[in-house]
């Protein structure tokens, strides 16, 4: 008898909570990154709440690298900007000896 009285409110409450849970899950999926530890360039964890290495700058290589292939990512042009092909004789063949690469680091 008692269950009958609370049945519908309980179902509604369960549906509401379930919906909230799903929305949270959906929101979490939309984030590009889950929560993560910042790390110093030595790979040590930075924890401002405990004060652990909390005065050090974070290192993108050490922080993002464990999940994302930092070395592979930085092969992209935006990171190299010609540095990966730079050499002293780069432009000689084209008659532009002052040109050292085809990117912003080395071109005229």
């Amino acid at each position: 008898m008692a269950w009958k009285k609370v049945r519908w409110p309980a179902i509604l409450l369960a549906a509401f909570l379930g919906g909230m849970l799903l929305m949270s899950a959906a929101a979490a999926r939309e984030r590009a990154c889950i929560p993560f530890h910042l790390k110093t360039e030595d790979g040590k964890i930075i924890n401002p709440l405990t004060g652990e290495n909390a005065d050090q700058p974070y290192s993108p290589r050490q922080t993002c690298g464990p999940c994302h292939n930092y070395d592979e990512i930085t092969k992209g042009y935006h990171f190299q900007q010609g540095w990966d092909v730079i050499k002293d004789d780069f432009g000689i063949a084209k008659g532009n000896p002052w040109v050292l690469s085809d990117g912003m680091l080395g071109k005229f």
Binding site: P48, Y58, P60, I73, Q81, W83
Partner: protein
């Protein structure tokens, strides 16, 4: 390299502006030296490198500043503080830059001032377990791309994004940079998404990663496949050859609304930028690149052959012609030193903008440069050149200025492609009709384009836009005749002609001849002649129909009649070739009858009996004088139409000026041709009832032949009698 990362103004107003390192996200050359070793670690191991002439370490403090690792957050963190990053880099806080600019921590202390920076993290961003929670964006928001591209591309091509005044129709539909420039995933190129190589178009000027050219989806790709709901263009009023010859951007980016770069001058040793100029009212020229200012681009042929809008940065700069025959660009410090020497003699109104343009000024600066470069270990020969507006200047052995057309690399005039800030369809060129480009007021041909920042008079040199892409002014005005006078009035002229024929018919009446009922009919037109005439007539009707629609550029009617405008064009020239072939045959058949004879004078004197309302006898051979005139007229017109028409088949390969000339001649004489044929049709039908029957069975009555072609008839009868004396 160390200096390169940190370079840039450090005054409070400009410290947030990016220097060289600002627009480099880190990694690569900002992390590793040319030997692939981390700068900070190597310098710690060997501090003497900072005193060496190694360009990677010369006077560097990598051991204190740290290196600039790839800053993921510069692209992926909405709200990233780009000016803060620039400030950190300029103050040598390389490894602290990302922490400070991302806002996850505050950085106190500047390496440049001998301090060791400390970080104070924003603890609100951290969970209890010490993990940070950042709302990173994938793909990156356009605002972050704009940190760098907003600045560099504004100068190159008047680009801005998220800018309501310099709007972009794709931007207004919510598209972001990454929608068109995603990370490339292409097994053929051996590139994976993780490598962060972004799709690009085919930049006209830049040499950057040409191997990635055209990895971006084209306008056509999206708008024919419906990518992201891109609408399929109808182009109902656009001629097919325009779609072939013009890049989409020509019509769809008619104007930019922020000032780009018109050019730059390095005379002072600094890069002095000149924003897009207001030629109509120089006093209202924008003061800086990026200021709101509406301007029309210039047009240039791309490598793929299409015309496209571009922005040429007109360079005013200096080289030294060395013994190896190569023009070497001079360093800014060399220019600066020479300018300091010459400044007192030059007496520029604005010391930051000397705008050297007179032979005297050129002589002064080149002399100063010669003196400055003396003893330079860079060159085996000192021969400085001044490059400006497509001309080069140098001093001869006597120290006098020699001017010549600049054929060196310094004179390159390729422009930066303009392909952003796309206008809505209603604002595209052509939405307002052909006049959007072909009127005398339109920018396309008559707009003025700067070719030299300061010409011989000190004012900018300009040239008409059309001339730049190959249309001579006279060809443009000839085309104007077509646009302004021929097209609007051709229908009226035809109506006037028909009205005149109606007046003739009602006033003079038809020529009545006893066409039927004769006891013995004569075959006037044998089958070969009837077919020749039929082919010529039929093909002419198709040519006139298609040509008339071309005249008014009514693409809808072309589609209704021929499926596609392209098909109509093909039909027009294929049928044109058939008409030409039929005309050659008809010339072979009837040419011999078209020679003028003495008795034709009488026919002409009596107007062939077509005027006066009375039936008169006029002598005529197989062709009367009027027909002979018509024959020769149409022969000449056929030659003109044939020559121009065949040339226009290859229109897309013709120089623009020749194409304009051919089109105008073709259109003008087509009108005369059609008028002549209408008159011919009138005389061959209702003006001479029954005559049309000749086209059906080729037969005429003897009375008709005797009346209309008396001389020929006499010869015919004589010949008949000679063959059969008894009859």
């Amino acid at each position: 390299m160390f200096e390169w990362v940190a370079v840039g103004p450090t005054d409070p107003k400009n410290i947030g502006q990016p220097g060289c390192g600002g627009c480099h996200p880190g990694g690569g050359g900002l992390e590793f030296d040319r030997d692939g070793k981390r700068y900070d670690q190597r310098l710690k191991e060997d501090p003497s490198l900072a005193q060496s002439l190694d360009g990677d370490y010369y006077k560097s403090k990598w051991d204190k500043s740290g290196v600039v690792e790839a800053d993921c957050l510069i692209c992926h963190l909405p709200g990233y503080n780009f000016p803060e990053r620039n400030k950190q880099l300029k103050m040598w806080n390389f490894k602290w830059a990302s922490t400070a600019a991302s806002g996850i921590g505050q950085v106190v202390g500047l390496v440049k001032e001998g301090q060791e920076p400390r970080v104070f993290y924003n603890r609100r961003l951290f969970n209890e377990d010490g993990k940070i929670v950042l709302d990173l964006a994938y793909p990156p928001p356009s605002e972050n791309c704009n940190f760098c591209h907003g600045i560099s591309d504004a100068k190159k091509r008047g680009f801005s994004w998220n800018d309501r005044r310099n709007f972009d129709v794709h931007n207004s539909r919510g598209m972001s940079c990454a929608d068109c420039h995603p990370a490339i995933e292409d097994p053929k190129l051996k590139i994976t998404r993780i490598q962060h190589q972004f799709a690009k178009g085919d930049e006209n000027v830049s040499s950057v990663r040409d191997d990635l050219d055209n990895t971006i989806m084209t306008c056509k790709d999206c708008h024919y496949q419906g990518y992201m709901g891109a609408p399929r263009p109808a182009h109902l009023s656009v001629r097919p050859n325009h779609l072939e010859k013009l890049a989409c951007e020509v019509c769809h980016i008619p104007q930019l609304h922020i000032a780009g770069g018109e050019g730059f001058d390095v005379t002072t040793g600094a890069m002095v930028n000149y924003p897009t100029m207001n030629l109509h009212d120089p006093a209202k020229s924008p003061k800086r690149i990026g200021d709101y200012f509406s301007w029309h681009p210039r047009f240039a042929h791309l490598k793929r052959g299409q015309l496209a809008p571009v922005n040429v940065l007109l360079g005013v700069f200096y080289t030294n012609l060395d013994k190896d025959g190569i023009h070497y660009p001079l360093f800014g410090r060399e220019n600066k030193k020479a300018y300091e020497k010459a400044k007192d003699q030059l007496k520029p109104a604005d010391p930051m903008k000397p705008e050297i343009h007179t032979p005297e000024q050129i002589k002064i600066i080149l002399t100063a440069l010669s003196e400055t470069l003396q003893g330079s270990k860079r060159f085996q020969q000192i021969k400085p050149y001044y490059h400006k507006g497509g001309m080069s200047y140098h001093l001869d052995d006597k120290g006098e200025v020699v001017a010549a057309v600049d054929h060196t690399w310094a004179a390159h005039m390729e422009g930066f492609n303009i392909n952003h800030n796309v206008a809505p369809t209603g604002l595209a060129l052509g939405a307002g009709g052909c006049g959007d480009c072909h009127s005398t007021e339109a920018h396309m041909f008559k707009g003025q384009i700067v070719t030299s920042l300061f010409g011989p008079t000190g004012k900018p040199d300009t040239i008409s836009s059309g001339r730049l892409f190959g249309c001579q002014p006279w060809a443009f005005y000839l085309n104007q005749f077509h646009q302004l006078y021929l097209t609007p009035y051709v229908s009226l002229l035809m109506l006037v002609l028909v009205f005149g024929l109606v007046l003739h018919y009602t006033g003079q009446g038809p020529k009545v001849a006893d066409f039927y009922g004769a006891p013995t009919e004569i075959t006037w037109f044998p089958l070969s002649e009837r077919w020749t005439h039929l082919f010529r007539m039929g093909s002419f009707l198709i040519l006139a129909f298609t040509g008339y629609i071309f005249f008014f550029n009514n693409i809808t009617l072309l589609q209704m009649s021929f499926g596609t405008p392209q098909m109509a064009v093909i039909i027009h020239w294929v049928v044109g070739l058939i008409f030409l072939a039929a005309s050659v045959i008809s010339f072979g058949i009837w040419g011999k009858y078209a020679r003028f004879e003495p008795y034709d004078k009488e026919w002409l004197a009596k107007h062939g009996g077509y005027l006066g309302g009375k039936e008169v006898e006029v002598p005529a051979g197989r062709m009367n004088a009027g027909q002979k005139i018509f024959f020769w007229l149409t022969t000449i017109l056929t030659v003109i139409m044939g020559v121009t028409g065949v040339a226009l088949i290859f229109k897309t390969d013709l120089p623009l000026t020749l194409s304009c000339l051919m089109s105008t001649i073709h259109g003008f004489f087509a009108v005369i041709f059609v008028a002549a044929i209408i008159a011919h049709a009138y005389l061959g039908t209702i003006a001479n009832p029954g005559t049309w029957r000749i086209l059906v069975d080729g037969k005429v009555s003897r009375n008709w032949a005797k009346k209309h072609h008396s001389v020929w008839y006499k010869e015919y009868v004589k010949e008949e009698e000679d063959k059969n004396p008894e009859a």
